[in-house]
Symmetry: D2
Subunit: 406 residues, 4 copies
Amino acid sequence: MSDINKVVLAYSGGLDTSVIVRWLQDTYNCEVVTFTADIGQGEEVEPARAKAEALGVKEIYIDDLKEEFVRDYVFPMFRANTIYEGEYLLGTSIARPLIAKRLIEIANETGADAISHGATGKGNDQVRFELGAYALKPGIQVIAPWREWDLTSRETLMAYCAERDIPVDFAGSKKKSPYSMDANLLHISYEGGILEDPWAEAEDDMWRWSVSPEQAPDTPTYLELTYRGGDIVAIDGEAMSPATVLAYLNKVGGANGIGRLDIVENRYVGMKSRGCYETPGGTIMMPAHRAIESITLDREVAHLKDSLMPKYAELVYNGYWWAPERQMLQTAIDESQQFVNGDVRVKLYKGNVTVVGRRSEQSLFDESIATFEDDAGAYDQQDAEGFIKLNALRMRIAANKGRSML
Amino acid sequence: MSDINKVVLAYSGGLDTSVIVRWLQDTYNCEVVTFTADIGQGEEVEPARAKAEALGVKEIYIDDLKEEFVRDYVFPMFRANTIYEGEYLLGTSIARPLIAKRLIEIANETGADAISHGATGKGNDQVRFELGAYALKPGIQVIAPWREWDLTSRETLMAYCAERDIPVDFAGSKKKSPYSMDANLLHISYEGGILEDPWAEAEDDMWRWSVSPEQAPDTPTYLELTYRGGDIVAIDGEAMSPATVLAYLNKVGGANGIGRLDIVENRYVGMKSRGCYETPGGTIMMPAHRAIESITLDREVAHLKDSLMPKYAELVYNGYWWAPERQMLQTAIDESQQFVNGDVRVKLYKGNVTVVGRRSEQSLFDESIATFEDDAGAYDQQDAEGFIKLNALRMRIAANKGRSML
Amino acid sequence: MSDINKVVLAYSGGLDTSVIVRWLQDTYNCEVVTFTADIGQGEEVEPARAKAEALGVKEIYIDDLKEEFVRDYVFPMFRANTIYEGEYLLGTSIARPLIAKRLIEIANETGADAISHGATGKGNDQVRFELGAYALKPGIQVIAPWREWDLTSRETLMAYCAERDIPVDFAGSKKKSPYSMDANLLHISYEGGILEDPWAEAEDDMWRWSVSPEQAPDTPTYLELTYRGGDIVAIDGEAMSPATVLAYLNKVGGANGIGRLDIVENRYVGMKSRGCYETPGGTIMMPAHRAIESITLDREVAHLKDSLMPKYAELVYNGYWWAPERQMLQTAIDESQQFVNGDVRVKLYKGNVTVVGRRSEQSLFDESIATFEDDAGAYDQQDAEGFIKLNALRMRIAANKGRSML
Amino acid sequence: MSDINKVVLAYSGGLDTSVIVRWLQDTYNCEVVTFTADIGQGEEVEPARAKAEALGVKEIYIDDLKEEFVRDYVFPMFRANTIYEGEYLLGTSIARPLIAKRLIEIANETGADAISHGATGKGNDQVRFELGAYALKPGIQVIAPWREWDLTSRETLMAYCAERDIPVDFAGSKKKSPYSMDANLLHISYEGGILEDPWAEAEDDMWRWSVSPEQAPDTPTYLELTYRGGDIVAIDGEAMSPATVLAYLNKVGGANGIGRLDIVENRYVGMKSRGCYETPGGTIMMPAHRAIESITLDREVAHLKDSLMPKYAELVYNGYWWAPERQMLQTAIDESQQFVNGDVRVKLYKGNVTVVGRRSEQSLFDESIATFEDDAGAYDQQDAEGFIKLNALRMRIAANKGRSML
């Protein structure tokens, strides 16, 4: 354990990662570099500086990554209409590769030979951090304290803190929650506590980012979202940066009771786990993106995207953002978005997101053909007969040869 | 045109198909057999008998197919979590193969050599009817009047009726709607009228099966759905037949503002079209089925199902129910449902369907492993290191060989 | 039929397309532009000029498209390891989009309002020509004489020729073959005649481009193929253009009895058909490309390509080269080829193509890890235990819950 | 290490697994049960009995599993036309789940609490054995000596043998090979030695099961294979059991120089490895099965099978035979084979397998439609126009809206 000289730690400023700072110093006798990122989790990151200093950390990185996060990770993922297991918008998953990348960049800058994180040995996040790190710097060493140490109960952890003079009220309000939580600009998640019983309904006071549909306003809110290349670039006519878009949608969505989700999901490490999520902005973006695609994408491109999506979602969920197959899929997805431009109008009301209009200069919706009225010859109904007959031919031959479908 | 002796017509009793009866008699000089089915469209079918008789029809079939429809078509489709283009629950599509099958059965019983239907030459329904018919009886002839006749404007149609003494108030209230509608136990659809402008919001008085979320009750409704083999067999502890399940969910869902959808979809014949749908029961069944699967299906089976679903949905949408590839997929899907048993608790509130609990005797959710508490050795966190390292190996080798992902 | 002013015809110079020239002139009273391309079919194209002139054609296009054909169509397709229905290398299919493109370019240059071709109404080629034409120029008119005229027997055709003074020995040697043939630089195909009985073995004198394995030399030929970006750029160290590469491989392959194939395939128009093919160069390129990929592609990229290939092959076979979904797939495939550089050594012997060596500066084959000898710690065998245990976890949980796989 | 009472070892009778017997006895102080199977590896299994007895083993299982192997593993896999990475017929992979199953059955019969095998920590076989074992008996313990012990060099192994009086000429002729080999009725494989250089050609004297194409007879051999439900049930009219079929094809194929393969493949544990394989019978069965399917399978069923195959192959290669997703796929594949009946005629000649005829009472090849001659109206060529026009519609609309494909 003596061959680590310097380790970069993903440091939240909370109790657990503060203990990890000390434990790394003690156990590996090495220097610790802390890295704290603002990815929109809704807590101040600057206080982490003093805490790290108090722990004797000399190299402290505090970054605002909100724009990079939304522009280079959230938006590309939404271009694919990505949903894991039919439900989950991948709020936690999509932040991990960015953290992994910054850990490695900082390791390169500071000459560190290892990285460390506070994820447990049961979850997906360890996988996401470490696959990313290994892909970006194959010789990096990874220290995952939760897989190594014996501070696995609250008591032993507290004893450790007492011994080392680590202030246990370190983490502030967060520690009062009975849930394990994670937040970034895309979502906040809850696990543990009573959620470990999948039959138990989540308590209403668990949710932090949205009001309940019951408490949302009695009148709807309408938004007009403007897309360019598959990404939202303006809301109600006002141009916005990616992070501003998402923050705005979170605010409006949350106020209208939008984005709560309660699921049991399959972890990459092999177990099922119950999770609750609030994703107000993402829950608006998903049908809105489909709506702008519905008039601008070719049918077969849209269907090809749908057929690739489950694989893409699995890759993101499992931590393969920095893998070449994800990149290959992304290339195809991005290529498909060149004409995904236009406006979508959505209505938000007490938990509902309803698309009520979509328009585009690149629209492929052709009123002259689609109309129920006389189309002046734009479409020849006679063509349908041959279309159907040839599509039926293989089945007719089979039936003629005595194969019955009944 | 003289070689048709008898034709079985899918007859609604409305004006259009009544005109078709007469037109077939006139044009083909043949006998017409009418077939009217109750598939839950919410209108009486028995009045069609007198109308058909008045048109001189001698063989009249009026069938209640509601149970068969839900049991053999709707439920099998929901086992696959089937959604077309991310949104559409395929309410129209799934009824067509059943109609096609009955048309052919009746043709066999009555010795008819042709079938006929009232679908236009621009839509999907002609394809669905005719692919089914050809697959089930390859030598059948198909007459699609809308592709043949010249009654393409309201005026020529009315003149035709006047000439032939067809009463034009035949269709009752339905003809007052500016929309083209289709209904069955799974949904009601609306097309045409102002919906032909995809930017225009649907008018509130268009919707017929559900109240708006705004008008729904201020208190939620909870339901407990019991699954066996992937199908709902009881609600709130009361055993119900398939059609009763769906009717009940439609009623409760509609009363809670659930199931409205407004999309632009890609038709099989090549154009985009705007459609609005009300699918109250289906909108409840979709997340509920996913919820019971979430605790009872193996992860990889669930992912395999997700990867096959877009293909399956395309087959159903395009009219390939009676095709061997749909049957092959169904075999796999049905095989996957053997353990999909248990209960799901859903909360319905002003348009929202929220799963709040799920339980099963076949649950694969293992609290002893998933817990954030001490798991008494059920899971060895050390295993994660090797798992990650071998999964990362190919990427580490690539990075070592100089391939950079950044 | 009077609204066509000028039509561009894909003109081979043979009897059938010469009759079409006259028939178009007669039937549509329009000017005919002929277009004859050298795509490596192995026949002189220049003689087509005099024949067209004799038929009164004023605008005559004769193009050498061999390089464009291989560079922009054959090579991109081979990057995907494309095989239709497990066997067919798509030799006919891949030439059609190029012809379609040139027909449209010439229509644009000459102001023609229609194109025409000599493909029958039963085959795939009509689809490939016409889908391409419509995609590239949506207002183009298409005249497919074989679907329109009544010259469907040899007798009526001969009578027509006699009436119009069309010399019936026009097509030269080709008409003596009992087979319907098509050739380009990638392959030559045979259909019809005794091949219409799928149980009958093809006669040995049918084959034109290769000797039989029995007649091939008794000593093997070795080739070293050099790849850049997934394409062959040199053979035995000599740089070659795409068309030269393929011509060279055809010659050497054919001389060694390589590339004969006898299959029953599924046409897009719904029937099965028997075809025999000689594809000497392509039959060498296929395993060679896989071999260079085997050491340069990431595993998951390779598997993703394999999973996309059947769809890609179907698109090419069905005539969707000029469709956006083909382009989307191509983007992904091309992106995957950036590191596919290096050399492959193949042995050709009496019909066999055997890869005997592959090397690359971008190789991901890591001898220090793969070795059966001591690897000096490059790979930690302990990692395998955790890898296996976590991959087994979901199955262990299921078995613990009583699900038996036996 | 004291908690193992009894362990079932997959025992070949060779030196390595004999050392393992002793090492297990010494290290775990437990009883060892040996299990030796004849799966067609071409060596006597009965001698293993005396060797095991000499090592003090009391419970000795020697099974002839050849029929079960081919019937329940090889044949089901060939129904899917399974090929890994475009080349490999999965000869090693497919035997492992059967061994795993027998190990667990014997553990159940003998009350053993562990299983053990001689596979190394770098390969796929450890994964295949252990995933199978865990899936079938989740509480089983697995001992993989090569991941645990320090006998990693020839010297330490020899020293260990000397110490324990294990006769080092135990393995007989096999140890003289410089290659790591594995054999069963489907194939024999070679790895290691000079093969670790992917540029080096395999030496001709390495191959054991086939003559080289050069040394094969100068006259071809024809076989007629009869299929029922996708499996071969007779050759040249003589009914044969599954194992007899494969043994016969191996003999005839090997004599004709058929079935050699030299590839670099991607292992599940993350590295690339070079392997050479002889699979004479399988190399005949693959195109023959495709040939019988080519006339009996519906097109879309065939294409669906092709799209599922890469996933199925990956599952078999990676060791997921006993996983529910493999079972789900198998259900679909087996369902597709109900009409795959008939005869295939193949020509074997110096390494080449050529299908020269196929016939079936369930054939979907319809000569009256496919013919180049007059089809008497069986197919209406006019239908093609509508078929093409509607398939082109989406592309025409896009082009009309200004999207250019060029």
